[in-house]
C-alpha cells in the first residue's frame, strides 16, 4: 500500500496522488491506467460500453502531454495508434466489440508486424446486447490473431491490468488485448491510485525497420514464440490466483465478472469449505501449468465466463493433452448446459450450474419466478421501448420519410443503420425501417436493392444514416451506388454530432476531441462531388423537406437527401426551449373523425400525452423541450406554439 503523499481536494485522472482513493467508473479506471502508464497517443471511435475511456482521456490529454483523437472509425483509430507505436510511443485504442470487427483487417496484420512502443487494444463486449445488435465474444478474435489477452475482474484490476499491459507489450513487441464487459466498464468502485509515469518519448520512425507482415510464415512462427513467451509470463502473474480448500469438490474457473459472481454464489450456497475458485486474469494463452497445479485427476470444474465458452473449450483441449482417460477433469460450463449459453452471466444462473454439478439442495429464486414477476410487472407498468427524445430532428425526418414512402405506395422501406435514428424500429418510431445490421450496412444494402429492377423489383428503397455513420462506413457504399447507377435514395441525418454514444465529435464537426479547432468536412460538398443529385433541407421545415424528397425518390439514379438540423438535446442544453407549446382544447378533435388521436397515437412525441378524462391531447411540460415541430402535425391546428 503506497503512502498517501498529500490530501487531494479535487481529483481527476491526471492527479498525481499515489495512494489516493476515489470512486471511479470502470472506464475511468482504465483511462487512469493509461495515464499512469505514460501513454502519449490515444485514438478511438465511440461505442457503448467503451466510450468513456477516450472521453476521460481528452479531459486531461493536454495536461499529461497526450494526443487523443476521435477517429473516423475503429480501423483508422487503431492505425493512428499504431503509427505512434511504430514511432516508439506508448499508444492505446478502445472500441466496442463490433468496432473490433471494423478494425479486424488491420488487427490481423498487426500481429505479424509487431510493435515498438507498447500498444494496448481495449475491447468492451456487451453481453445481453444492452446497447448493441449482437453479443459477440471478442476473445476469439484475439486468439485468432495470437494476441495475449487480459480480462479484468474488478474496477481496480482494470486500472492495474491496463497499466501493466504496456510493459507486457514492450516485452513481447506485440500489441496486447484487454477485454472488458459492461459490468466492469460501467460499474463504479473504489480505486487506489498509483503513481503516474511521464515518459515524454520522442516520436521517431526507424528506417532500418520494415513494418510488414511479410515474410508471413516466418513472422507467424515468431508470433507463436511470442505467445509462448507470454504464457510463461502468465504462469506467475499476480492477476491469476486460487482461493479455497486444498481438495475442493468443485473448482470454479472464472474470468472477468465470473470472479465476483462466484464469490456471491459460494456465499449464498454456503459452500466455502468445498468449492474453490481459480480466478484467471490472463486468459490467452491460458496459464496451463498454473491451472493444472490447482486441479486433480478427475476434478470437477465449472467454467464461469461471459458470452462464449472460450476458456471452457480451450481448457478442455489443453487438459486433454495433460491427462488422459479417467484422469481427465470433468469440465462443465456453457457447452454442457450448466450455464446459460446466451445472454449475460449473473449469480443466479451460476448458482443453477453449481447446483446441477454438485446435486446440492438449494431453493433459490428460480427462472420461472422471473417469468411470473415479468408477467405481473407488465400489468402494472408499461413496457417502454426506446424512443426519440422530445425535440429530436430524427422524429421529423422519419415522419417525412414515412409520408413519402406511403404516398409513393410501392411497398417502400428504409434500410436502417446504427445510431439514434435507428429507434424508428420501436413502437415510438414510424416503423418504416426494415433492416438493421452493421455500421453503414443500410447504405450497402440499399446500393444492392437498387440494382434489382431487372428482376422485377419495384419497391422504393431509402437508406438512412447519421452524420457520424456517414463518415464511418456509408461513404464507400454511396460511391458504389453512384458508380453502378443504383436506383437508391440516401437520407443523411445530419444532427452535427455522434449522438447515441454521448455527443462525441466526428469529421464533420468544428472541434476535435480535445477541443481544438478542426477542419470540418462538409457532407453536402462531399456528396455533390460524387456527381449525384443532392438536396439539403431542414426536417423541421416540413413542406420543403417533404417536397424535395418526393421529387428525389422518383429519379432513376442515386440521390442524396441531407436532412440537417442540430440534435434537439444539444439545442435544448445550449439555447433552451425555442417555443412555448400547448394544446388548444377547443380546437382539439381528439378521438373524433378528422383526428383519432393523431398526435399521441401516430406522431408519438413523448411530450404529447392523452388525457383520458378530458378526451383531449395535452403537452407534458416536464418533457417538452420546446422545439415547436408538433404544431405542424396537428390536423386541426390545435397545437399552438409561441416563440420564447
Amino acid at each position: 500500500m503506497v503512502q498517501v503523499k498529500h490530501k487531494v481536494e479535487k481529483f481527476n485522472i491526471a492527479t498525481d496522488a499515489p495512494g489516493h482513493v476515489e470512486l471511479l467508473l470502470g472506464n475511468e479506471a482504465i483511462a487512469r491506467g493509461i495515464v499512469e502508464a505514460g501513454v502519449q497517443v490515444a485514438a478511438a471511435y465511440p461505442g457503448t460500453p467503451s466510450s468513456e475511456i477516450l472521453e476521460n482521456l481528452v479531459k486531461v490529454a493536454k495536461k499529461v502531454g497526450m494526443y487523443a483523437q476521435w477517429a473516423i472509425n475503429e480501423k483508422v483509430a487503431i492505425e493512428v495508434a499504431t503509427a505512434a507505436s511504430m514511432s516508439g510511443l506508448r499508444a492505446v485504442t478502445a472500441m466496442k466489440a463490433q468496432g473490433l470487427n471494423v478494425a479486424l483487417d488491420f488487427v490481423q496484420h498487426l500481429n505479424l508486424i509487431g510493435t515498438n512502443g507498447g500498444l494496448l487494444i481495449i475491447v468492451c463486449d456487451d453481453p445481453e446486447a444492452f446497447s448493441s445488435v449482437n453479443e459477440q465474444d471478442s476473445r476469439w478474435l484475439a486468439q485468432i490473431g495470437d494476441y495475449p489477452l487480459l480480462e479484468p475482474s474488478s474496477v481496480q484490476e482494470a486500472k492495474e491490468m491496463t497499466k501493466w499491459a504496456f510493459e507486457l507489450s514492450e516485452q513481447l513487441h506485440s500489441a496486447v488485448f484487454l477485454r472488458s464487459v459492461t459490468r466492469i466498464s460501467h460499474a463504479s468502485s473504489v480505486v487506489t491510485m498509483s503513481d503516474i509515469q511521464r515518459l515524454d518519448r520522442k516520436a521517431s520512425f526507424d528506417l532500418a525497420q520494415y513494418f510488414s507482415p511479410s515474410p508471413v510464415v516466418q513472422k507467424h512462427a515468431e508470433l507463436k514464440q511470442k505467445l509462448e513467451k507470454a504464457r510463461k509470463i502468465f504462469e506467475s502473474s499476480p492477476f491469476n490466483w486460487y482461493r479455497g480448500p486444498s481438495s475442493p469438490d468443485l473448482t470454479l474457473v472464472c474470468s472477468g465478472t465470473g470472479w465476483l459472481y462466484a464469490l456471491d454464489a459460494i456465499e449464498l450456497l454456503d459452500l466455502e469449505k468445498s468449492v474453490g475458485i481459480i480466478k484467471l486474469g490472463t486468459t490467452w494463452p491460458l496459464p496451463v501449468e498454473f491451472i493444472q497445479k490447482h486441479l486433480r485427476p478427475g476434478s470437477r470444474v465449472l467454467v464461469v465466463e461471459e458470452v462464449d465458452p472460450f476458456i471452457e473449450v480451450h481448457l478442455k483441449e489443453q487438459m486433454y493433452d495433460k491427462w488422459g482417460g479417467d484422469e481427465l477433469p470433468k469440465i462443465y460450463g456453457k457447452n454442457t448446459g450448466h450455464i446459460r449459453a446466451v445472454g449475460e452471466l449473473n449469480p443466479d444462473n451460476l448458482i443453477d450450474g453449481i447446483v446441477k454439478v454438485l446435486g446440492v439442495n438449494y431453493r433459490g429464486r428460480n427462472l420461472s419466478y422471473d417469468k411470473k414477476a415479468k408477467e405481473h410487472a407488465s400489468k402494472m407498468t408499461l413496457a417502454r421501448q426506446p424512443i426519440y427524445c422530445p425535440g429530436c430532428p430524427h422524429r421529423a425526418s422519419m415522419w417525412i420519410v414515412k409520408r413519402v414512402l406511403r404516398l409513393e405506395g410501392t411497398d417502400g422501406f428504409v434500410t436502417g443503420d446504427i445510431g439514434c435514428y435507428a429507434l424508428d424500429r420501436y413502437h415510438g418510431g414510424q416503423r418504416v425501417t426494415r433492416t438493421q445490421s452493421a455500421m453503414g450496412g443500410g447504405s450497402g444494402l440499399a446500393s444492392g436493392f437498387g440494382k434489382l429492377e431487372q428482376f422485377g423489383f419495384n419497391q422504393t428503397v431509402i437508406a438512412h444514416c447519421g452524420d457520424s455513420t456517414f463518415f464511418h462506413a456509408a461513404i464507400p457504399a454511396i460511391i458504389n451506388a453512384v458508380h453502378h447507377k443504383s436506383k437508391t435514395t440516401y437520407v443523411v441525418l445530419d444532427n452535427s454530432t455522434t449522438g447515441m454514444t454521448g455527443f462525441q465529435p466526428h469529421p464533420g464537426t468544428l472541434l476535435d476531441a480535445i477541443g481544438d479547432p478542426a477542419v470540418p468536412v462538409d457532407i453536402e460538398d462531399l456528396c455533390r462531388s460524387l456527381g449525384c443529385a443532392v438536396e439539403v433541407a431542414d426536417p423541421f421545415d416540413l413542406e420543403d423537406a417533404e417536397q424535395k424528397l418526393r421529387d428525389l425518390v422518383n429519379r432513376e439514379d442515386t440521390k442524396v437527401m441531407i436532412y440537417r438540423r442540430k440534435c434537439g438535446l444539444i439545442v435544448f442544453r445550449e439555447e433552451g426551449p425555442q417555443y412555448k407549446v400547448w394544446v388548444d382544447e377547443e380546437k382539439c378533435f381528439g378521438e373524433e373523425c378528422g383526428c383519432d388521436r393523431y398526435c399521441t397515437r401516430i406522431f408519438k412525441c413523448p411530450a404529447l400525452i392523452w388525457d383520458k378524462e378530458a378526451h383531449k391531447a395535452k403537452v407534458d411540460e416536464a418533457l417538452c423541450t420546446g422545439c415547436g415541430f408538433c404544431f405542424k402535425v396537428c390536423p386541426q391546428s390545435a397545437i399552438v406554439r409561441e416563440k420564447i
Partner: protein
C-alpha cells in the same frame, strides 16, 4: 393495435373502393384527416397511417360507397329519385348561355358560364368565396379558394383530370362563417350531396355551402398516366388551355403559346380512368346548376341545367346584371343530351352488374324497385 378481423372505416374504404378500381379520385376523402393522401404524380390515393375509428366521414361521403339515391334527392332536390330522372336528373330550366364579359370569354371554357355565375354570386353577396381548382405550373388541377374575379379567372378552363377540390374544402376551419360555392365533377357533386344529407359536427359547416355548380362529364383522364403523357409530349410551361371540341371533331386539343396541337382521341383513350366506367351521372344531378359544353353546334356557348331554387335565383341575378347572354336550347339538342346521358348510364349499369354478378345488385347505387327496372331496360 388494430384488430385484424374488424375492419375500420378507413380500411373499408381502402379495401372496397380505393384499391379496387372504383376510385374516381374525386378527393372527398382527402383533407378530412391526415390519414389519406393523394399522390398527384402517380394519380393514386394512399393511406398514410391507420385510423382506428369504426365510422368515418371518408367512408360516408365517398360517392362509390352505398349511395341512397332517394335520401340524397329528397335532401338536395326536394323530390324522390324517380325513373324519369335517370337520364339528366331534375330539370327546372335548361338553356344555352354565354358570358358577356370579355375577360371571362377569353379564359373560360366554351361560354365561361361557371366563372360568370360565381362572379355574380360574389357580387351579390350570396357567397364569400368559391372552392375551385386551378392549374399549377405543371398544369395539374389543384384545389384553390377563390375570393374575387381575378382569382376566379385563374381557375377558369378545364383540365380534364379530376382536381382535389375537397382537400381545399375540408381544410376550411369549422368555425369559419364564410359562405361558399363549390365547383365539381358529378362524382364530387355526389359527395357534396352526401355531406349535406349526413352532416357532421367536424369539418366545414355544410350549411355554408350555398351553391354547388356541377360540370357535365363523360369521363376524366388519370392524373398519373395522362399527365406523364402530357409531360413527355409538351413543354407544359408553354401550355395555355385544353379543349375537347366534340363531334364531329374527334380530338383532344392542347393550346400552347406557339399554337394548337390536336391529339386523336383514340390515342388518349388508354388514359381514361377505368373507374369512370362505373359512373351513372353525366350531368352532375346533385348540383344547384349543372354546366356543360354547347357542343359543336353552339361553339362558344354552355348548356345550362338549373335544378334548385338557389340555382334559379342566381340565374336571375346574373340576367339582371347583364352578365349572361341566354338562348333557348333546341329540342334536338335536348334529345341528344338525354340520349348521351342514358347511354353512359346504361353502360355503367352493365359494368356494375357484371362486377356484382347480379342484376339485382347495383353496387353503390341504392334505388327503389321500379327505378331499378328502368335502369335495367335496354
Amino acid at each position: 393495435m388494430t384488430s385484424e378481423t374488424v375492419l375500420k372505416a378507413s380500411q373499408r374504404l381502402y379495401d372496397e373502393v380505393i384499391t379496387t378500381g372504383l376510385c374516381t379520385l374525386c378527393g372527398a376523402c382527402i383533407g378530412l384527416c391526415p390519414y389519406f393522401g393523394m399522390n398527384l404524380r402517380r394519380g393514386t390515393i394512399r393511406r398514410i397511417d391507420p385510423c382506428e375509428r369504426d365510422e368515418g366521414r371518408c367512408y360516408q361521403y365517398c360517392p362509390r360507397t352505398d349511395t341512397d339515391m332517394d335520401a340524397i334527392y329528397r335532401r338536395i332536390l326536394g323530390v324522390p329519385y324517380d325513373k324519369d330522372k335517370i337520364d339528366i336528373g331534375v330539370v327546372r330550366d335548361i338553356f344555352l348561355a354565354k358570358s358577356r364579359d370579355a375577360d371571362i370569354l377569353k379564359k373560360g371554357q366554351d361560354g365561361g358560364v361557371v366563372t360568370t355565375l360565381l362572379w355574380a354570386a360574389m357580387e351579390e353577396g350570396i357567397i364569400d368565396c368559391a372552392v375551385e381548382t386551378r392549374m399549377d405550373e405543371d398544369k395539374s388541377p389543384v384545389g384553390f379558394l377563390a375570393r374575387n374575379k381575378e382569382e376566379l379567372l385563374q381557375c377558369a378552363g378545364n383540365s380534364y383530370e379530376p382536381g382535389a377540390v375537397f382537400e381545399t374544402l375540408n381544410r376550411i376551419p369549422r368555425d369559419s362563417s364564410d359562405n361558399l360555392a363549390i365547383v365539381g365533377l358529378p362524382c364530387q357533386v355526389a359527395a357534396v350531396g352526401k355531406m349535406k344529407t349526413y352532416p357532421s359536427q367536424n369539418g366545414v359547416n355544410v350549411d355554408n355551402i350555398k351553391l354547388v355548380v356541377g360540370l357535365f362529364c363523360g369521363w376524366s383522364l388519370s392524373p398519373g398516366s395522362f399527365h406523364t403523357f402530357l409531360r413527355e409530349n409538351f413543354d407544359l410551361s408553354q401550355v395555355i388551355r385544353f379543349d375537347i371540341p366534340h363531334h364531329p371533331a374527334h380530338s383532344f386539343d392542347v393550346y400552347t403559346t406557339s399554337g394548337k396541337k390536336s391529339i386523336e382521341l383514340d390515342e388518349i383513350a388508354e388514359f381514361i380512368n377505368p373507374a369512370c366506367s362505373y359512373c351513372c351521372d353525366m350531368t352532375a344531378q346533385f348540383a344547384d346548376i349543372s354546366v356543360g359544353s354547347g357542343r359543336a353546334m353552339f361553339k362558344g356557348w354552355n348548356t345550362v341545367i338549373v335544378r334548385t331554387g338557389a340555382g334559379a335565383d342566381l340565374i336571375e341575378v346574373a340576367k339582371k346584371n347583364g352578365m349572361l347572354e341566354i338562348q333557348p336550347l333546341p329540342e334536338e339538342n335536348l334529345t341528344h343530351l338525354k340520349k348521351a346521358a342514358l347511354i353512359k348510364l346504361k353502360k355503367a349499369i352493365k359494368k356494375i352488374t357484371e362486377r356484382t354478378g347480379s342484376e339485382q345488385d347495383f353496387g353503390y347505387l341504392k334505388v327503389r324497385a321500379e327505378v331499378a327496372e328502368a335502369l335495367l331496360e335496354e
